[in-house]
Every structure is written in C-alpha cells, then in structure tokens.
C-alpha cells in the first residue's frame, strides 16, 4: 500500500503521468505498426478460416482488453471502497467508457467474422451472451456513476455495481469450456503447447500488447481529464461560496 499511496496525491500523479505518457504513446504506436505489418502481410492464411483469420488479430486482443478493463475497474472500485483511495474512484470511472469501447469492438468484429465463417452475424451461445452482458454492465456503470448530483455518491454506487458485475468475468473466461458452444475454446492459454502456429501467434501477441498499451495510454489521459474536471468543479464551488 505504501507504493500506492505515493500516487494518492493527484499532483504527484499528474507529474508521473506527464513523464510516462510520451513513452506509452510511443510504444503503442510502434507496436501497432509492427503488429499490423505481421497481421496483414507477414502471416499466412489459416487453413480453416482462410484470410478471415486476420479479423482475429483485432478481435481476440479486444476481447482480452474488454475483460482486463473490467478487472481494472473492479480492482479500482474495491480499492476505493476499502481504502478510500482518492485516485481509485477516478480510475474506475475513467476505465468504464474505454472498456465499453473495446467490448464494442469485440462484438462488432466477432460479428463480422461470424458471418462468413458460421454463416450468421450472431448466435445466442454462452460466450457471446456473456460478452453482451459485459457491454451492458459497462453501460450501466457509466449511467450510474453519472446519475447523481453528488459525484462521490455516484462513484461509490458505481463501485458496488462494478464488484457485483465482476461475477461475469470468470463466466466469460470459462464459458467455452463449461458449455459446448459454437465459439471455439481458447487456443493461446495453453502456454506449454499453444494450439496455434507461431506464425499466427506472433501477430496475435504483438497486437495484444499494442491494445494493452493503447488501453493504458487512454486510461492515463482519461484520468488526467477527470482530475482536471474535478479541479474545475472544486474551483467553481470555491468561487461560488466566496461570492
């Protein structure tokens, strides 16, 4: 906790984010360039999926980030509720719209992959349904955290919701193993012997890293924006009460 509290001071956090942001942005750009090169040009077509495997290089990373984002949000919410850490509230609030964006990408690209491969835009299996629920949980979190006149009350209510909704994350993760569904089981997680060829694993992992760094960049920017808006509100209140 000692490390965490070093960043409890928003000004120190702002200084830290100013130093680290250019690095994050640079690494993200580099990873996207290399990842897209491998994903689009330097990797073969799959013998079953054909060229549509290239959709996987954005679909799978987006799906990972949509769950990672929710975990960040739930972790920050727990920190906010238990230790009342001031930045945790802001982190949870900032992560929600970004996570929702990645979930939207997951659903849309999955749909565009499903049409040529399964012959349908959408099937109501456990994996797809639980990701759809994840999307609605993100939207509910966004709506709830902005539904109160007092922003701290909204943050607390949203934090409880984030923790309740976390039940959904393991369900998404294991839905393909628990139920026999159309969606294929994970082929990367078996680290010892991944069921995927290195020529395809490479673009997938680079794109996943690129998405992760993009998420972190956006998160830092969004936290900074939230902090600025909070400062503006505090100043306005101080001025209003001074008059």
């Amino acid at each position: 906790m000692a490390n965490l509290h070093r960043f409890a001071n928003p000004n120190r956090f702002l200084r830290f984010s100013r130093v680290i942001l250019p690095w994050l942005a640079g690494i993200t750009a580099l990873l996207f360039i290399v990842g897209l090169y491998y994903a689009l040009f330097a990797s073969p077509a799959d013998y079953q999926q054909g060229e549509t495997v290239r959709i996987m290089y954005v679909h799978v990373p987006a799906a990972w980030i949509s769950m990672f984002g929710y975990s960040v949000m739930a972790g920050a919410s727990a920190t906010a509720l238990i230790w009342r850490h001031p930045l945790a509230d802001i982190t949870a609030r900032a992560a929600a719209p970004i996570g929702a964006g990645f979930t939207l990408i997951t659903l849309a690209t999955g749909s565009l992959w499903g049409k040529p491969m399964w012959g349908t835009w959408w099937v109501w299996d456990a994996r797809l349904t639980s990701v759809l629920i994840l999307f609605f949980l993100y939207l509910g979190h966004i709506a709830l955290s902005r539904a109160f006149d007092d922003p701290t009350r909204g943050a607390k209510a949203a934090a409880v919701l984030a923790l309740v909704g976390f039940v959904n994350v393991p369900i998404i993760k294991f839905s393909v193993d628990w139920w026999n569904v159309l969606h294929q089981p994970a082929s990367v997680s078996r680290l010892a012997a991944p069921a995927i060829d290195p020529s395809m694993l490479r673009p997938l992992l680079i794109m996943a890293l690129a998405f992760t760094f993009y998420f972190l960049t956006l998160l830092l920017l969004q936290i900074r924006a939230e902090l600025t808006h909070r400062k503006v509100r505090a100043l306005q209140l101080a001025q209003a009460s001074a008059q």
């Binding site: 509720l81 349904t129 629920i133 609605f136 949980l137 939207l139 509910g140 709506a143 709830l144 539904a147 109160f148 006149d149 009350r153 909204g154 607390k156 209510a157 409880v160 919701l161 923790l163 309740v164 909704g165």
Partner: protein, 221 residues
C-alpha cells in the same frame, strides 16, 4: 432474529396497506403477456412454443416494477437511517425487505402464472416445471433487484436506471428458467437446469443482501 420478524411484519404491513401494489403488478403481468398473441398472431402452435419464454420475460419486467419503491419511501422519510442504527445488522433488515418484496410481487406472479400458461396453451407436462422454476427463480429476482434498488437511491431517473442495472443480471435466471421448461417439453432431463437455477438462488441469498447493505451504507454516508 425476533427483530427481523418485526421488520418483516412492518414491511408486509406497509405493502398490504398500499395493497394496490400487488394487484397492479399482477395486472401488468397478465396484460403485457396477452399483448403477444396480438403481436405474433393467434396461431396456437407458435404461442405454445414461445409461451414459456414470454411468461418468464414478462415476469422479469413485472418483478422490476415495484423495485424502485423498495427503499425509497424509507429513504425519504428518514426511517432507513433509523434502521441502520438499529441493533440488527443491516444485512438482515435488507433480507426482510427482500422477503417482503417477494411475498408481495413474486408470490402473486406465481399464482397468476397458471392462467397465462392456459391462455398460451402450454403442454400439460410443462405446467409443474413452469411453476417450479418460478418458485426457485423469483426469489433470485427479488434478491438481485434489491441491489439495483439500493444503488439507485437518490439518483436522477432512478426507475429507468434500475432497469438498466438489473436486467443484465436477470439474464442467467431467464436462461435457465426457460431452459428447464423447454427441456420438459422436449423430454430432455430437467434436473441440470433446476440445479443451476437453485444454485443461483443459493449464491444470491447471502451475497445480494450483503452487497445491497453496502450500497445502502454508501447512500446514507
């Protein structure tokens, strides 16, 4: 424990005094369900096919109607604050409120269900399973809904917000409730669906009052 019963009695008393509530919920349940024959046409085979799903979906919506007022009146007149100061743990108070909510909405819905099952012409072997799934499923709806009600206390547009928060959480109950009935109709084993439905209830029973009590404490801070 005695105090919990006092609170349960108080809740039931309040609910019964404003007794229109249960009747309105049941009326909504029936009215919304009989919209479907007009919407999809009166063909008996289609209605029998979709009947179980329609009844369950409409039951979800009907159970949501009275959620908003679960804590709102107590919140506005300050008695909620008194209840948190009571020697009884807040979780038990919340559980009593959930029980009262189920008795005033879930139970009437179950009573009205056979009528709808007849109107939709459900196959006779589905009747007992339909009632059984409602019996196991509707308490879970009250439990989950209670979290939504506690979270939205004092929010703008609380009612719409509850729907947005609670409906995604209701989906698993719906899936396994309807799954059991479909299995009964097609002659597949019903037990796995019922067991999952029951385990949802068992998991929700301790966790939901706890989460809702945490949300209430945040609201009253």
């Amino acid at each position: 424990m005695n105090a919990a019963f006092v609170i349960l009695r108080r809740e039931l008393h309040l609910a019964l005094r404003g007794s229109g509530d249960s009747a309105t919920t049941v009326l909504f349940f029936i009215l919304a369900a009989i919209l479907f024959p007009f919407g999809v046409g009166p063909e008996a085979s289609i209605l029998a096919r979709i009947g179980a799903g329609v009844i369950w979906v409409v039951a979800l919506l009907a159970a949501m109607l009275s959620l908003e007022r679960m804590f709102l009146t107590d919140y506005e007149d300050g008695s909620l604050e008194l209840l948190t100061l009571a020697p009884l743990p807040l979780e038990l108070v919340v559980l009593a409120k959930i029980a009262a909510h189920w008795i005033t909405t879930g139970l009437p819905l179950i009573v009205a269900t056979p009528l709808l099952a007849i109107l939709f012409g459900l196959p006779p072997q589905a009747f007992p399973i339909l009632l059984l799934t409602m019996l196991i499923g509707t308490p879970t709806l009250s439990l989950l809904g209670c979290i939504g009600a506690a979270l939205t206390l004092g929010a703008r547009r609380g009612g719409v917000l509850i729907a947005l928060l609670v409906l995604p959480l209701y989906i698993p109950v719906l899936i396994f409730g309807v799954g059991a009935i479909d299995a009964a109709v097609t002659g597949l084993p019903v037990r796995p669906h019922l067991l999952i439905l029951a385990s949802l209830l068992v998991v929700a029973l301790p966790l939901c009052p706890w989460a809702a009590a945490a949300a209430l404490r945040q609201a009253l801070d």
